[in-house]
């Protein structure tokens, strides 16, 4: 009998995914960049040299000058402070969208995956929702409900839900064919319990990966909504609306797009890279080949 290795945690696959040393150098850099961005935005209140809203229209669109390391915008506000603080809402919108869409998608996907009767109806609705181009849906929702942070989050979340539902449903459909689920049925485990105890954990890994992609794309979508005039108010800076406001001055003062754009792109790039790395780690098909 071969020796049995010591016990490990129940979160096996997740921990394996999060164990950075297994990642390539690209992912390590990505994790580092993301950490720096998150720390900077978290501490923005203390780091930022100026209030992001204090304006001085008479000193507008200035290049880097004393006290304004990245210059000022068209209201004479400090770009550096705005980019720092702007990260907060961008990240909040991204995280909120990811969490909400994953949770709602999880519940709907579970129901669709397990109850054949509900499946057809739910999936047709999801098909319909997916058929509506998400940007158009989002602009319409924001334009019609007013561009508050809440409606921006809702507008970005709703189009993401069908994708999560499909993912969860696929995982559930695959998992319910697994022998251990059939064994659980044979052991007299009730359906809700099977759902929660056996199937939900299966969706965890793909949902974490999907969540990172949603997080990244939500931050990007927020920027595009702002660009199209359906974003959050300029009084609450986000990377998106800083760029949207600054796009008018792209050729005069490219810093207005450059710096928030750089922060946004670096952030999304890192999240996407980490998501990819997590997927490679969690996807058994790819793992098989790596060995």
């Amino acid at each position: 009998m071969s020796p049995i290795p010591p016990p490990t945690s129940a979160m096996q696959p997740v921990l394996r995914a999060l164990r950075l040393p297994q990642f390539g150098w690209g992912s390590k850099i990505a994790a580092l960049v993301l950490a720096v961005i998150v720390v900077l935005t978290l501490l923005a209140q203390w780091i930022a040299p100026h209030d992001p809203l204090t304006m001085n229209p008479l000193a507008r669109l200035k290049g880097p000058i004393e006290g304004h390391p990245l210059g000022t915008d068209n209201f004479g506000r400090d770009i550096f402070s705005r980019v720092l603080i702007g990260g907060q809402l961008s990240l909040i919108i991204g995280i909120a969208t990811a969490v909400v869409s994953v949770l709602i998608g999880l519940v709907i996907g579970m129901v669709a995956g397990f109850f054949r009767t509900a499946d057809a109806i739910i999936m047709r609705m999801m098909d319909a929702l997916m058929a509506i181009p998400s940007i158009l849906l989002a602009i319409a929702l924001v334009a019609l409900n007013g561009p508050s942070v809440g409606s921006v989050i809702a507008a970005i979340t709703i189009p993401e839900i069908p994708r999560v539902v499909r993912l969860v449903r696929a995982v559930v459909l695959a998992a319910r064919e697994e022998p251990y689920v059939e064994a659980a049925i044979a052991l007299g485990t009730s359906m809700p319990k099977i759902l929660v105890r056996h199937l939900v954990p299966n969706t965890l890994a793909p949902l974490i990966v999907q969540g990172t992609y949603i997080l990244a794309s939500a931050i990007l979508t927020e920027a595009i909504l702002s660009f199209l005039g359906a974003g959050v108010s300029t009084e609450t800076p986000t990377w998106g609306n800083i760029m949207a406001e600054g796009r008018m001055f792209f050729r005069i003062k490219p810093e207005l797009i450059l710096y928030p754009g750089l922060a946004l792109s670096l952030c999304i790039l890192s999240i996407n890279l980490l998501g990819d790395a997590a997927r490679d780690m969690l996807d058994p098909r790819l793992k098989k080949r790596a060995g």
Binding site: D127, A131, I132, L141, A223, I224, G229
Partner: protein, 313 residues
């Protein structure tokens, strides 16, 4: 096969019906009174009421829906509230540019992305792989309007290779069309290339691990033959699928690029309509883009059997 196509087409009906319900509810249950917009600056409450009456906005919601759907069935998309022009004419007018640029984008993207993905999968974990992956992640990470501005700055203003804006129909000559359409298509392509290259890479990686690839190598087939003859065709179906599902992304991108490059397409028409609360136009546009999405995906589904003989209907 015919039966399958028929069934698939029938399956489109409930989806489109649901889209119609979504669209209708979306517009009717949210604030914004089309009557107030039509009435203009100087309207009195009595005038508003008259306009509401005339537009049928006073009737119960389900009656309004049925009326609207009935007209829709007869091909009547209504008349723009703002400009008083028939919506179908407006759309027909503006579809050409969007359509042409979308096709160009897809062609360019596939032409670039598939070889990139194949290379990345073949040279898995090599410098080329990382380069392709980094590029394709970048494609997802930079907002499309930033890319558009950069391209204009570099290719139009600095290098003077392309005009900065505008649109020339294909009919005026391919060269003229391309000189206008190339940059917007390239801008739109970035995200599409990213998507397709990733998908190609992932599927090629999977296919390259299949037994029949080993068989091909055991036959002494050179790598080129293994990649393009044996592997790519097997990876084609998921690549096609992503082209189809990426179509929604394309529409989103179109909205932005049409603004940046000033192209008279349906993307801008839609955004303008949404911002102006031009309900008939919004409804028609969302229905139309959804229908196109469903149609494109249906066509793609049907084309699977061309690549994979196992798929027969």
């Amino acid at each position: 096969m015919l039966g399958y196509i028929l069934r698939r087409i029938l399956a489109v009906i409930p989806v489109m019906l649901l889209v119609a319900v979504f669209v209708f509810l979306l517009l009717r249950l949210t604030p914004g009174d089309p009557a107030a917009i039509i009435a203009g600056d100087m309207a009195t409450p009595a005038q508003l009421e008259r306009i509401r009456e005339a537009m049928g906005l006073n009737q119960p919601l389900h009656i309004q829906f049925v009326t609207w759907l009935g007209r829709l069935m007869q091909g009547d998309l209504g008349v723009s509230l703002i400009s008083n022009t028939p919506v179908s004419a407006m759309i027909a007018d503006r579809m050409g540019p969007t359509f042409a640029i979308a096709i160009l984008t897809i062609l360019m993207s596939v032409a670039m992305a598939v070889p990139m993905g194949v290379l990345a999968a073949w040279k898995h974990r090599s410098g080329a792989d990382y380069a392709v992956m980094t590029f394709s992640v970048l494609g997802f990470s930079v907002p499309v309007f930033v890319i558009g501005y950069l391209f204009i700055l570099i290719f139009s203003l600095k290098l003077g290779w392309f005009p900065v804006q505008g649109y020339t129909p294909v009919g005026s000559g391919l060269g003229a069309f391309l000189s206008n359409a190339f940059l917007p298509a390239l801008t739109l392509s970035t995200i599409y290339i990213a998507l397709i290259a990733r998908m190609t890479r992932a599927n090629m990686l999977e296919v390259l691990g299949e037994d029949y690839i080993r068989t091909a190598r055991a036959k002494g087939a050179p790598e080129r033959t293994v990649l393009f003859r044996h592997a790519l065709k097997n990876a084609a179906v998921p690549i096609l699928t992503v082209i189809g599902s990426g179509f929604a992304l394309l529409i989103g991108g179109v909205v932005v690029t049409e603004t940046v490059f000033n192209i008279p397409g349906i993307g801008r028409l839609t955004v303008d309509a949404i911002l102006a609360r031009d309900y008939p136009v919004i409804q028609a546009m969302i229905l139309l883009t959804s229908f196109l999405y469903v149609l494109v995906n249906l066509l793609i589904d049907l084309s699977y059997s061309f690549f994979d003989p196992r798929i027969r209907y």
